[in-house]
Symmetry: C2
Subunit: 390 residues, 2 copies
């Protein structure tokens, strides 16, 4: 084993991205080595992963259920451990925030899949990365595409185009959207993802969050970041340069590719499990600007991003609550945007917030969104009862 | 005027590429300066260009008709002149060969638009560029696209995809193709180009020549260079990397963009005359592998390229003769490929040819193609007379 093996820690190894990251690492035993795995509650899968990859360190909130001889450390200690070269942050929600900061402060490279880290605390995260000369590499397919297209370019681009499949309901009318059920919304036409991300993909909130992420990752103004509906999900994003030339990155939709690129960067490695594009199977590629009337979430996200401070954290938290309420059939699909909007409306912003203030805003937003949706739900019940009484 | 102004010589300034190059240079008076113009017979336009751009040097085969005070030099002397930083070679046919070699031997950067230079003498040209550490920058939209996509990449790609509009007749049947008239063939749906290039675009011979060019420019094996029919001409070519990721370069079809990129490289300059892509105006982008049964020219070119030696020069010369005969209504549209094929069949190849041997093969091929088509024409006449006599 040479010293040029990259030593990887995966935070969130039992999630969709974590599992695919392990699949990539498995393909390159002479280039990549897992030295730490961390997961939340899925003890059975984590234990199996630990036994297969034999990392030195691990972390789990279900420690007691795991039979493994490795060293148990906090996610922060893993992320900043001297034996780790690169930390894949693929935890759900805000759990990745503190370990990401720990990794960056220790000068570790962070391969980032958790949207919330940059959306909630972009200013702090980018400042720490810059202070400690630590790199943040995107794993999201869209940001990976933009990053790939920016390679070798010296001048700031003019616009970034984030592509969106549009989700399963992009052609639905307003009233059809109101009737969407959790079962329908969990069927994504292209990407296999976690539940939260799949719903965010249907409301286009995921693109809104990605606009905020792109703003921080590429230090790019919000007004230059646009969303293009591209149902085939072959073009993963585009960059337009000042001279009118654009570059696009394409591939079959397979998250293992952007994961692998973050691990192989700046090199590219052939991986027999990653299929090459077959032009006989591609009919046409379509593009259209997104419709923010039927899908207001990206607009809310862009506004929250522009206002900055604690607004983006509030957006994130309110969306998380609203998606959960939708999945529990407490609110409708179109209510998700309304709950987020109302929570933002009620928020008292804090400019240049500390991490504590961001987490406080997150807690406030969860409470507020829950309260709002409860009121909303009661109002719906009341109306429905009125109808029944008639 | 600072010393960082790039001093440009244009060989072929009155042609389509030459005129568009001047249009680009005009937009950047603080970055680019024309120091030499050379053209063949269009004395009136050259004189107007000389008077407008006031270059120090010029060249023309119609010297006597030009009233201009600048220094008259040969194209070779212009191309290797110490005051020239970059030579745009946009001459027709093989005229650019000797000046390109002169420029490279003097260490000048060559921005290459003339396909024939690399097709006829790729091995010599690339060897001289490498010996004298001189750069060759592509101006063809396809090769510029590939070059742009390769920026910042460390690893050799897996495949290069040259896109082709398919020309005006891509959906024609074999028998419809045989009936195509010069008038129809000169109407290209997308690009405004010279007559020869427009016909080559209809037979797809231009793609065949571009495959050979790409082979030399990017030292890439022939079998890794593929042709994709893309009728909208928005994606100008694509590069597929070893990991399955592809990059594409896109823009409105406007030759001024690749010309400008060769002049601004590695920077990108905003040019108010170059329009930005408007996604509201793009419906869909289509791609399909090319059909070499109805369009055999790319196959002929690939074979000639692979065989090497003097075959590519013979391909070029035979095609030039055949296109001219087609434009003069001596042969049919589908005869172009046949004449080229037969000329290649009769050729005695010379491996590792000298420039003289290449030029001799060119002369032989012209004579052979003319003779073949004359025989062909007589045969057609004889058959047609037989029909009339019946």
């Amino acid at each position: 084993m040479g010293d040029n093996i990259r030593k990887i820690a995966i935070l969130g190894s039992t999630g969709s991205i974590g599992r695919q990251a392990l699949d990539v690492i498995r393909a390159f035993p002479d280039k990549l080595k897992v030295v730490a795995l961390a997961a939340n509650k899925n003890a059975r899968l984590l234990e199996a992963q630990l036994k297969q990859f034999q990392p030195r360190m691990f972390c789990s909130s279900a420690k007691a259920d795991i039979d493994y001889g490795g060293e148990f450390l906090s996610m922060e200690d893993i992320a900043s451990h001297p034996e780790v070269d690169l930390v894949i942050v693929a935890t759900a929600g805000k759990a990745g925030l503190s370990p990401t900061l720990a990794a960056l402060r220790a000068g570790r490279t962070v391969a980032l899949a958790s949207k919330e880290v940059l959306v909630m605390a972009g200013e702090i995260v980018i400042r720490e990365a810059s202070l400690h000369k630590a790199q943040i590499l995107p794993i999201d397919s869209e940001h990976s595409a933009i990053w790939q297209c920016l390679q070798g370019e010296e001048d700031k681009p003019r616009r970034l185009f984030l592509t969106a499949s549009g989700g399963p309901f992009y052609r639905y009318s307003q009233s059809q959207l109101a009737e969407v059920t959790p079962e329908q919304a969990l069927q994504h036409p292209v990407w296999k993802m976690g539940r939260k991300v799949t719903i965010d993909s249907g409301t286009l909130m995921n693109k809104g969050l990605e606009v905020i992420e792109a703003h921080w990752l590429f230090s790019f103004p919000f007004d230059g970041i646009e969303i293009l509906i591209h149902p085939q999900s072959i073009v993963h994003s585009l960059v337009e340069f000042m001279d009118g030339s654009l570059k696009a990155q394409l591939s079959w939709p397979d998250m293992r590719l952007p994961i692998q690129y973050a691990l192989s960067y700046p090199r590219r490695w052939p991986n027999p499990k990653l299929p090459y594009l077959d032009w006989n199977k591609i009919d046409s590629l379509n593009f259209e600007p997104a419709d923010y009337n039927r899908f207001p979430c990206p607009k809310l996200a862009r506004e929250a991003g522009k206002l900055g401070g604690t607004y983006p954290a509030v957006l994130c938290a309110a969306d998380e609550v609203a998606v959960e309420l939708f999945l529990n059939r407490r609110i409708s699909f179109t209510d998700i945007a309304k709950i987020v909007q109302k929570t933002l409306d009620q928020h008292q912003n804090i400019a240049k917030p500390s991490l504590e203030e961001i987490l406080a805003a997150d807690a406030w937003a969860r409470e507020c969104a829950t309260r709002l949706s409860l009121g909303h739900y009661k109002e719906l019940e009341r109306r429905s009862n009125l109808r029944l009484e008639r």
